[in-house]
Symmetry: C2
Subunit: 379 residues, 2 copies
Amino acid sequence: MKITEVRVETFRYTSDKAKDIQGHAHPADPHDALQSLLTIETDEGVCGYSFGEEVGMAQGLARPLLLGENPFYRERIWQNLYQRQRDGSTLSDRGLDVIDQALWDLAGRALDQPVYRLLGAFRDKVPAYGSTMCGDELEGGLNTPQAYADFALQLVARGYKAIKLHTWNTPTPGAPDVRSDVAACAAVREAVGPDITLMLDPFHYYTRQDALQLGRELERLDFYWLEEPMDEASVSSYIWLTEQLDLQICGPETAKGGLRTRAEWMLRNAADISRVGTQDVGGLTPTMKIYHLAEAFGMQCESHGNGVGNLHALCATSVAGKYHERGLLHPFIDYETPPPWLNALPDPMDDEGMVTVPQGPGLGLDINFDYIRDNLVSS
Amino acid sequence: MKITEVRVETFRYTSDKAKDIQGHAHPADPHDALQSLLTIETDEGVCGYSFGEEVGMAQGLARPLLLGENPFYRERIWQNLYQRQRDGSTLSDRGLDVIDQALWDLAGRALDQPVYRLLGAFRDKVPAYGSTMCGDELEGGLNTPQAYADFALQLVARGYKAIKLHTWNTPTPGAPDVRSDVAACAAVREAVGPDITLMLDPFHYYTRQDALQLGRELERLDFYWLEEPMDEASVSSYIWLTEQLDLQICGPETAKGGLRTRAEWMLRNAADISRVGTQDVGGLTPTMKIYHLAEAFGMQCESHGNGVGNLHALCATSVAGKYHERGLLHPFIDYETPPPWLNALPDPMDDEGMVTVPQGPGLGLDINFDYIRDNLVSS
C-alpha cells in the first residue's frame, strides 16, 4: 500500500468559543471559524482522516515525505517527521499529531479495527473528569467561586465523579491570585462534598512560594492533583515542589521534548504523575511510548485533552492512565452536541461518568463529509 | 471475536543439539526430541500459532483466563497473566512469551498483515550477527582459539559482518578462564581483520576484577560489546564495570523483572546498551515497551535470541535496536535448513549479512502442519 495524496480541506463553521491572548478558550458570540480535515489517500482506496486547525502548514511540509510511503510504516514516518522538527520554525507537535493520527486512522480503516484494539486493548471505557474552562468575568459563567460551585453541581448531576477546575488566568483582571484559586476550590469542595475527585489547573507561572501555598490549601481540601502551577521549563522548581507536598503534582504537559523530557522528569522525581496528550508530543505513536515509559517506572500518567486519539491510547493502557479529560466545559457551552463536522460525539459519557471509546474502524470518528463539502473554504 | 480454545500439540523430531547442565546448547548425535505448537482458536475461525518447548504448563495456567476473551485485548490479557507470575512456581517468562506471540500472530493473521506493520514498521531488514555456540571439546568444533578463528572465517564467507563469540563455560573442563576467552577473541580478530564487528558473551559469573581484565583486553581488540560477564543480580557490579570501561557493556539479559528492571538499569547507568528478548521478558508486548523505554533515554537496546518475534519487534523499532542475533551457530550445525516443523527459515540472511523479516501475515512462520500431525506425541 502506498500513500498517493495528502490533502487538507479547510471549511467554515459557526463557533461559540474564542481564545484569549494566552490561548485559553472562553464562550463567545457565534462567529465564523475555520477547521481543517487532513486526508491521507492510498492506492488501495482506503483513507485516513484527522482534524486540526493548524494542519495546513504541516501538510505542506510532510507531503513530500509521505507521498509514495507505505502508511503502515508509522515508526519510520514519525521519526523522519520528528527530525524535521529540529528547526523549530517548521513542523509543530500539533501538526505532527494530526498526521500521525491520520495514519493510525488509516490503518484501522484498512483493517476494519478500532485503533485501541490494533494497539492491544486493555479496556473499552474509562472514567472522565469534567474539565472546566478558565475563569472569566461573565455573569452566570465562571466569574466567582460561587459560580464554580454552582457549575460543579451541574456536572455532578450530569454524572461526573471527578472535576478539574481551570481558574482565573491572565489576561482576566485580578488574575492570577492564589487566594481566588483557593476560594473557588473551597467553594466547589463545599458544594460537591467529599466523594467527588477534584483537581486544579491554575495560572502556569506562579513562583515556587505561591505554588506551595496553593498546594497546601489543596491538601486541606483533599484535592487529587495540581498541574502546571509553575513554568515547566524550571524542572528544579517541580522537584522542589514535589518534595514539599503530599498533594500529587501532575506534569509535564506543555514542556517540549515529548518522550525524552518525560523520562528526565521521572528520573529526577519532578512530578508524582506524568502527563501526555497526543497534541503535546506529536501523535499517538509517542503517546504510547510515554505510557510504556510510565509503566516502566510504576508511575501514573494522565491523559491531556479530549482528542479521540487520547481516548484510544488510554484504552490500550493498563497501569499508567486513569481519566479521560472531557471538556472544556462551561455553563454557556453545549458539550453534548457534536461539532457540525461530526455526526456523533467522539467521547459520549454515560450517567455514571464513564466514556466509551469509539468502536468504529480507525479512530472511529463519524465524519459528516457532506457538511465539510458544503462549507469548503479551500482544498 | 472470542477465544474458543487454547491447544498445545507436542510432537517429535530429530534433534542434533543438546543442552549442557548450564542450559547451553552444543552439537549432539541425532536423537528424539520434543517441540510444542500452541494454537489459539477463535469463534471466527482465525487462529494464532507459536512454538515453545515449555508451553504445556503455561497453556494449562493461561487457558481459563484466555477462553472467552477477545484476542485483540492483548494488554489486558498480558497484565492478567503477568500478575499470575508473582508466584514464581507458575507461569514462566518463556511460557508467557509463547502465549503473547500467538496473540500477535492471531491479530496479524486476522488482519492479513505482518506483525511489524501492525506495530508500525520502521524497516524490513536488519543486519545480523553470527552468534556462535559456547566452546566445547569437539575436534573440528569450537575447542581451541584457532577453531573459533577458522569458524569466524566461514561466517565472514557466508556474509556476516558481525560475529559474537560465546566462549567456554562450565561444565567444559578448564572453563571459565579469562585467558582462554581473550585467546579466542584475539584469534578471531586476527583472522577476520579490523572491519568485522565482534562481541563477546563469556562465562556469566566472573568477579568484577576478572570482568575488568577481560574488558580491557577486548578494548585492545576493538570489540563492540561485552555481555553478561557477571551475575546480573549484582547491579552494583555492572555500574562499577560500566564506569571503568570504554568498551560497551550490554545488559541486562537474564535478570528477572522485564521492563521495570531495565528502567532501573538505565536510571543507574548499569550498562551502555540495554537488552531485550521476547523470551526473557514474557513476549512481544513488553519487548516493544522496552524499546520505547530505551528510546526515552537515548539508549541502544539490542535484541536477544533468534525468535521471529524479536525480528518483528526490531523492524518496528527505530532508534533503539540494531542487530538480529542469528544462531546459535557451530561448524557441525546446519542453521540454513529450517527445522522440520517449518517450511522456511524465519530469518533468512542474504550474502550481505542482512535478514529480512517474514512478510506473511502474523509472525509469518510458514508452518508444516502435516509434519506436526504425522509426529504428534500428545494433543
